[in-house]
């Protein structure tokens, strides 16, 4: 086996040194009746070339080379090549959690820079690195709010990503944490009146997402005011991180639970991604996850260490703020490099291109289908309602190697034939025009079918 640095003679020599007759001696503690005396029934050992071929075949079966209008919590943005050059360095790739600070300063300093940039972008005072993804970050953010307020129930906006809501439901299930849902109004945003009614004396926090699942930017300040008036916290989930380049961050939030995938992390069929929790300094001791702090060594030199570990499971065990141990460190490094590349100006320009592409696309779609939730600002996603089932339209578009918008009826049956479309800087005008063409054709044929029906009835 090519990964194993031993010859048969080496193995014999080691056995001899140990004083064992055969390798079986070392497995003697396993009761004989359970020992596996056959080969595992898994594929035979493959050469590297065969492994590459096998996965290339899988890649071809997986929509390789398709343009996409899908967003909904996973965004197709350009990844500058130096991200992979840098994270592929063995010193980053093959290191463990930086518990031994003296030989982990690379990882530690990079996390400190990450924490700083996330704070700058979110308007918060502290940020961790990292949580598993946006959905678990939101769930952990909510549980953090419950610990901070001593209250037990949660109000979640229905405009939060449906899968994030499902994850929260799972986490809350055995915490004895009742969940109430706040509906959205005609503009796709949280219905403020209904929200206010659903908050009680026991509400620990309100969880919203902005831009929300429909791509619409919530009125965060108004929601914060309502939540705070009732002694509840506001937790804001951000699923599309690039929005932070042009959309004002939810500064009135108490806790921000972010998905940073948009910052240089491949779509990768849903993971690994990078969740982040950011908050105010006063709440830091209830924060889950790892934190890096600045300090000095014995000679007064600046250095970085993992800090406030008394919140964590390896110290506090059942009293920890979370059970999280392994997180998404290398993905956080991708995010860090991405933020460094685009920086103060680039991120804004990038976000502006997203805004422009989505605005153009929405305008074109509006000529044929109906754009839902008009009247509220949007970032790079919008909802198009068609007369025909969007699955049917999408299957025709797919023939042209384009993946259409996400039909919403699976998550929101009440929205009928609506679909969520996303445009990023990588969406070309040609792809937009092609997709719009299919929607236009669909509307025309529905219309003419209706006219034929009407003529039939008239006859």
């Amino acid at each position: 086996m090519r990964y194993l640095p031993k010859s048969p003679a080496d193995r014999q020599a080691l056995l001899k040194a140990i004083g064992a007759r055969s390798i079986d001696d070392l497995f003697a503690p396993i009761p004989a009746e359970y020992r596996l005396n056959r080969d595992l029934k898994i594929p035979r050992q493959m050469a590297e070339s065969e492994i590459l071929d096998w996965f290339r075949e899988r890649s071809r079966e997986n929509g390789d080379g398709y343009a996409t209008f899908l967003g909904a919590g996973a965004y197709y943005h350009y990844r500058p090549v130096i991200i992979d050059s840098l994270i592929s360095r063995g010193e980053f790739l093959t290191a463990y959690t930086p518990y031994q600070a003296e030989i982990s300063q690379g990882t530690l300093q990079s996390i400190f820079e990450f924490q700083t940039m996330i704070c700058e972008l979110t308007g918060m005072e502290v940020a961790n690195a990292s949580m598993y993804d946006g959905s678990t970050a939101a769930a952990e953010g909510v549980m953090m709010a419950a610990r901070l307020t001593g209250r037990r129930s949660v109000v979640i906006a229905r405009s939060v990503h449906p899968e994030y809501r499902e994850v929260l439901q799972t986490y809350a299930w055995h915490q004895g944490m009742p969940l109430a849902i706040a509906p959205f109004g005609k503009d796709g945003r949280v219905d403020l009146k209904a929200l206010e009614q659903s908050i009680t004396q026991d509400t620990a926090c309100v969880l919203i997402q902005s831009p929300n699942f429909f791509g619409t930017i919530e009125d965060v300040n108004a929601i914060a005011e309502i939540a705070h008036q009732h002694g509840a916290m506001l937790v804001v989930s951000i699923a599309e991180a690039v929005s932070l380049g042009i959309v004002e961050p939810p500064r009135k939030a108490d806790i921000i639970a972010m998905e940073a995938q948009s910052f240089g992390v491949p779509l990768g069929f849903g993971g690994p991604y990078c969740g982040v929790i950011a908050t105010k300094e006063q709440f830091v001791r209830q924060m889950p996850g790892r934190l890096v702090g600045q300090t000095t060594d014995r000679n007064g030199k600046r250095g970085f260490v993992l800090t406030l570990a008394t919140r964590e499971q390896h110290i506090r065990r059942e009293k920890a703020t979370s059970n999280i141990c392994t997180n998404q460190a290398l993905v956080a490094l991708m995010v860090n490099i991405f933020m460094t590349i685009y920086g103060k100006v680039g991120l804004k320009e990038l976000a502006k291109q997203n805004l422009a592409k989505a605005a153009y696309a929405a305008q074109q779609f509006a000529k044929h289908g109906k754009i839902l939730f008009e009247g509220a600002p949007r970032f790079n996603e919008f909802v198009v309602e068609t007369s025909e089932d969007p699955y049917a339209i999408n299957s025709r578009i797919l023939g042209h190697k384009i993946v259409g918008g996400l039909p919403l009826k699976k998550f929101y049956p009440e929205l009928g034939n609506a679909a969520l479309w996303c445009c990023t800087e990588l969406t070309t005008r040609t792809a937009i025009d092609t997709a719009v063409g299919f929607v236009a054709d669909s509307e025309r044929s529905v219309k003419s079918a209706k006219e034929e029906d009407a003529q039939e009835v008239a006859r």
Partner: protein
């Protein structure tokens, strides 16, 4: 004025500043293509939601970024540099072909919501690795959704709870041995169970009499690591399972130490009902400085209805798809389908090994741990003489007499070019030194390690102060962790 040379040191020693300290307005490492749609007025579209300023984000060029992160990287220790014997962490070689196949366009750019018809490649990967892991563990059903080991524990315990609930009583307690990982009790608390400690016996194994006495109808499950955190195989494992089952309880296995078992014995065959795996330990996906991991949970048939949704199924036409209609499911534990990129890497590892390679890997891992045990026995205190599997736990008892503790010895090991072993864990061994070489070490590397450890033991006798001040060769010396926690500085600010 005194002239100061600010560079001219070896790069691993130089003082690379924070990226913010290199920033100046107008530098850029990015370039966008021309916009092919009309420009928009952000103010008009966003109104008061428009952001004006991005604060102190840096402005730097590409070469500066490359140098910055490359220099930072040289301050890290890594498996690629040498032996990384962190017990319980399984720091094995991370094969590079794994990284290549994970970056193939169709896989790296696959959107989780693209139509199933256009996702057959990803689904085939999920199905194939699921089948392999089920065969390796001897279990009946599996979910790959959990993002890490602790997340797998959470998922497993949620399923345990759902199982008991379906029988009418979720029960109250989880039994956890005193040698367990901290994630076990932390997870039990998250699922609303109280934790009851289970004492180990003189051999470092589960005390059968204590277990029998503590097991009753209030106990939902026993969370057991096997081999346990002393690297000892729980020989009475089936009796333990029987004791649990007799009172309607379940047996959870923390699979952190699966590297000692693959291809040699299957947890499903010795009575385990539910277990998690760590793809980043046993199956070679890189630790990446702390993640990403992946924590699949494998279960027996009785727990299958409670798996998180969706699950992957084979449809009547032979294609693969996701099934969401699972009324007894515990729900989702993560968005989408889990850390898919890690499934690719772990599967590439399994394919590179095959059945013979995996078995040889396990044998070498156990062989290496026993070689190190033999090499250091006598020099360091071995608190439990029970046979070791893939790791061995010594203690600092002998050296502590000179005032040198496990962490001090670990720091000195850095000067010899090794990453330290795991210090002060498991908690049942005062001053624990937990060593897991993995199969990836050659005899030569292990001999160097043994020599280094022996040399340090001599240094403790001759010059304990020198060991207490270690490390001596790193860019920074021991850092003031107390000050860091007392007055936390968790971000850079201009003028700092």
């Amino acid at each position: 004025m005194k002239h100061q040379t600010r560079k001219a040191t070896r790069h691993v020693n130089q003082n690379e500043g924070l990226i913010f300290e290199k920033s100046s307005a107008g530098k850029a490492a990015w370039k966008l293509p021309p916009l092919d749609v009309p420009e928009v007025d952000a103010k008009a579209l966003l109104g008061s939601a428009e952001r004006k300023d991005l604060g102190n984000l840096p402005e730097v060029s590409e070469i500066e970024i490359i140098r910055h992160f490359t220099r930072l990287s040289t301050w890290n220790y890594a498996i690629d540099l040498g032996m990384y014997p962190l017990g319980s962490c399984t720091m094995k070689y991370n094969p590079r072909v794994n990284e290549v196949v994970a970056r193939l366009d169709g896989l790296a750019n696959g959107h989780p919501y693209q139509p199933e018809k256009a996702s057959q490649g990803a689904l085939r990967i999920i199905k194939t690795i699921s089948d392999c892991l089920l065969e390796i563990t001897g279990m009946d059903a599996i979910t790959l959704q959990p993002a890490a080991g602790a997340h797998g524990e959470l998922t497993g315990l949620l399923m345990v709870r759902a199982y008991h609930q379906a029988k009418g009583n979720p029960r109250k307690k989880v039994l956890i041995p005193d040698s367990a990982h901290g994630t076990n009790p932390a997870t039990a608390a998250m699922v609303g169970y109280s934790v009851e400690n289970l004492k180990s016996n003189a051999q470092g194994m589960v005390d059968i009499a204590a277990l029998t006495a503590q097991m009753n109808e209030d106990v939902a499950v026993l969370m057991l690591t096997n081999p346990n955190t002393l690297g000892v195989f729980e020989q009475d494992i089936h009796r333990i399972a029987d004791i649990m089952h007799a009172k309607g309880g379940l047996l959870y296995m923390d699979g952190a130490n699966m590297n000692a078992l693959v291809g040699k014995v299957r947890p499903g065959d010795f009575g385990v009902d539910v277990m998690h795996l760590n793809l980043h330990k046993t199956f070679s996906t890189p630790h990446g400085g702390g993640g990403p991991g992946s924590g699949p949970v494998a279960v027996k048939q009785i727990l299958e209805p409670f798996l998180p949704k969706p699950v992957v199924i084979t449809k009547p036409d032979g294609t693969l798809g996701f099934e969401y209609d699972r009324p007894l499911s515990v729900g989702r534990v993560r968005s989408f389908y889990g850390n898919f990129g890690m499934f690719i890497r772990a599967l590439a590892y399994i394919l590179a090994n095959g059945p013979d390679g995996l078995r040889q890997t396990t044998e070498d891992a156990v062989l290496n741990a026993n070689y190190i045990r033999k090499g250091l026995e006598g020099t360091y205190d071995l608190p439990y003489t029970t046979p070791s599997m893939h790791e061995v736990v010594f203690s600092d008892k002998i050296q502590a007499k000179k005032g040198v503790k496990t962490m001090d010895l670990a720091k000195r090991l850095i000067d010899y070019g090794f990453h330290p072993y795991t210090t002060a864990f498991p908690l049942i061994v005062p001053g624990a030194m937990m060593i897991e070489p993995t199969e990836s070490e050659s005899t030569e590397e292990m001999d160097l390690f043994i020599e280094a450890m022996k040399s340090i033991a001599e240094e403790v006798e001759e010059d304990p102060q020198m060991v207490l001040a270690a490390p001596h060769t790193t860019r920074v010396s021991r850092l003031d962790e107390t000050a860091a926690a007392r007055k936390p500085v968790l971000r850079w600010k201009p003028g700092n």
